[in-house]
Symmetry: C2
Subunit: 351 residues, 2 copies
């Protein structure tokens, strides 16, 4: 019997609903495999701003630091997006959390499900066989660089900075991920224009010498945006900077037509954070309509990270089996349509 | 009878071949409408580096400045991409040209052709009805900002800077383009994280007050990358910064499955530059395989810019008619496959 302390930051919008289903499934797993997961809830995002004025209250951060893993729902509310004068934004909570916990790598697997090929915006022949992993740098680059105003506010700037250390650690991780998969790594950059991209390319070339078993290639980000649509099956592992990764991983996430199915992990230090990629969908909140699978599979990535491999596989098997039965939430256009909770029940029962 | 001085910078790879076909069609137009186009050729890109050591020789720039318009082929060669130590790169020529000529706006129309709907990587129902224009800022932002190295080369940075002036002029242009089309404008940014994006949003909101007949909305760049794949028909005009525009316009360009058909214009000062978007395709050079339509339609955008509307329409009609006959280069998978030159002949004959 092992004990794990899980911080649950379910956040805004549909976050709490989908995380509740992930915990439902984890509860079955923990009973079956005889573990104990201790869940502690804490506010983050818009909810935390409302309660405390801070999108990442000190207590939430402290809890995360002493936990074994973090289950994260979603953050964000249109009320803040449409208020340019907002001094405090939910997103700041997420950015600070990543930085403070040293979560420098965001891993996003994207794979198609054969049963769901018709949901893809791409033609079936383009989506079949897609199975890739985007490794996005998460605590450097332009989202974290120095920024501000000059000339009475009439000039604004953001700085994209990368250091050798920041690049090395993520590229090394990407080489390892590639080795454990199909052995292909693509560095996406804009080395024909950006100095920081040239440093990425330099260091990646150096590391390639110690990773000769992995096939490495380079691609400019504009071309990568095209190739992801034209022929996504060509990719195995993509590694890239924070901003390019933000854009490309979101583009990739819709290829399989099932945003509601895709999990992610953010890792780097010992604590890992596990999060569905779909965001807070405020319009769908509280309606029992959100797809819980991405959150459940994120819990699966958490089990992997805690080195509970068998448990993680049992979880994924339960998801696959349930999907193959043709049940699901409305976004999957299933034969048998269920609400969030009922879909979670079926997956939990399938474990 | 009017006279126009056209600088022809046909550049690298397939550039010269496709530009030759554009000029073939322009020659027919000029005879028919009684104009005189005076073409002066000048080197740019890798070709210019080989000849002079400079991707944009002084004489080329001087020629451009005294011309009425520029026909541009393509630049770039893999020899430079794979040499991180290259001090001179073809791309520098293009960036300098844009800056020196004040070409601050890149306009990229993307529309599907009904006959070619099967070429799209998207399902037919997603691509039908797509008709959008991406307005990309072209001489500011991170591609032109201060960049360099620190810490013995182990830290690299690039700066994204935007001034009020730079943002105002392009957003104004975008409002006008939207008004002349379906009256919808989308500003794409990352205002939840970037200070420069917040300035874009601020100024765009201000300008919206003078453009109340245009429907304005805002979208984060990561979401835009998804929406372009999920539902590209929702967009009319998109306006965005240099880097976001680079990525999104390339992504959009493959949606219709016909990269070889898409023209672009870069405008701002009096001289305009007209350029197929497909790039230099070095592997295809000299083989009579490249699709000349993008170059021909770029010449059409040039005619529009020279206020030769009837001529521009005649050119477009000739292209549409030829495509409707089911002829084309291999990339179009046509009923009757032609080489670059023969396809150009057919379009010229259809004028
Ligand atoms: C909310 C925002 C700051 C965040 C990011 O861009 O990093 C989000 O888009 C994501 O991708 O997790
Ligand atoms: C060659 C490169 C500098 C250029 C750019 O990114 O601006 C190209 O990709 C383009 O989009 O015209």
């Amino acid at each position: 019997m092992s004990n794990f302390n899980i911080a649950v930051l379910d956040g805004d919008g549909i976050g709490p609903e989908v995380i509740a289903e992930a915990i439902k499934v984890l509860d079955v797993i923990s009973k079956k495999f005889n573990h104990h997961f201790e869940y502690t809830y804490a506010p983050v995002g818009a909810v935390a701003i409302d309660q405390t004025g801070d999108p990442l209250p000190e207590e939430t951060l402290a809890l995360c630091k002493r936990s074994d893993a973090l289950l994260f729902g979603a953050i964000g509310h249109p009320r803040f997006d449409n208020d340019p004068s907002a001094k405090v934004r939910p997103e700041q909570g997420l950015l600070k959390l990543r930085k403070e916990l040293g979560l420098f790598a965001n891993l996003r697997p994207v794979a198609g499900y054969d049963e769901l090929v018709d949901l893809s915006p791409l033609r079936p022949e383009r989506i079949r066989g897609v199975d890739m992993l985007i490794v996005r740098e998460l605590t450097g680059g332009i989202y974290f660089g120095e920024k501000g105003r000059k000339d009475d506010g009439n000039t604004a700037y953001d700085t994209c900075t990368y250091t050798r250390l920041e690049i090395e650690r993520i590229v090394k991780m990407a080489f390892n991920e590639a080795r454990a998969r199909r052995g292909k790594l693509t560095l996406v950059d804009k080395a024909n224009v950006m100095e920081s991209s040239r440093l990425w390319r330099e260091i990646t070339r150096e590391l390639a010498r110690e990773n000769e078993d992995v096939e490495l290639n380079f691609m400019f980000v504009d071309n990568a945006a095209m190739q992801l649509i034209l022929n996504p099956a060509q990719f195995d592992v993509i590694v890239t900077s924070n901003m390019f990764g933000d854009i490309l991983s979101d583009a990739s996430s819709v290829l399989a037509g099932s945003l509601g199915l895709l999990p992610s992990s953010s890792v780097g230090s010992t604590v890992g954070m596990f999060e569905p990629i779909h965001g807070s969908w405020p319009e769908g909140a509280g309606q029992d309509r959100a797809n819980p699978v991405a959150a459940i599979l994120s819990a699966g990535m958490m089990l992997d990270h805690l080195e509970l491999r068998e448990e993680a596989n049992a979880l994924r098997l339960a998801v696959n089996r349930t999907l193959a039965e043709g049940v699901g939430t409305e976004d999957l256009r299933p034969r048998e349509q269920l609400g969030t909770r009922a879909f979670g029940d079926r997956i939990a029962a399938a474990v």
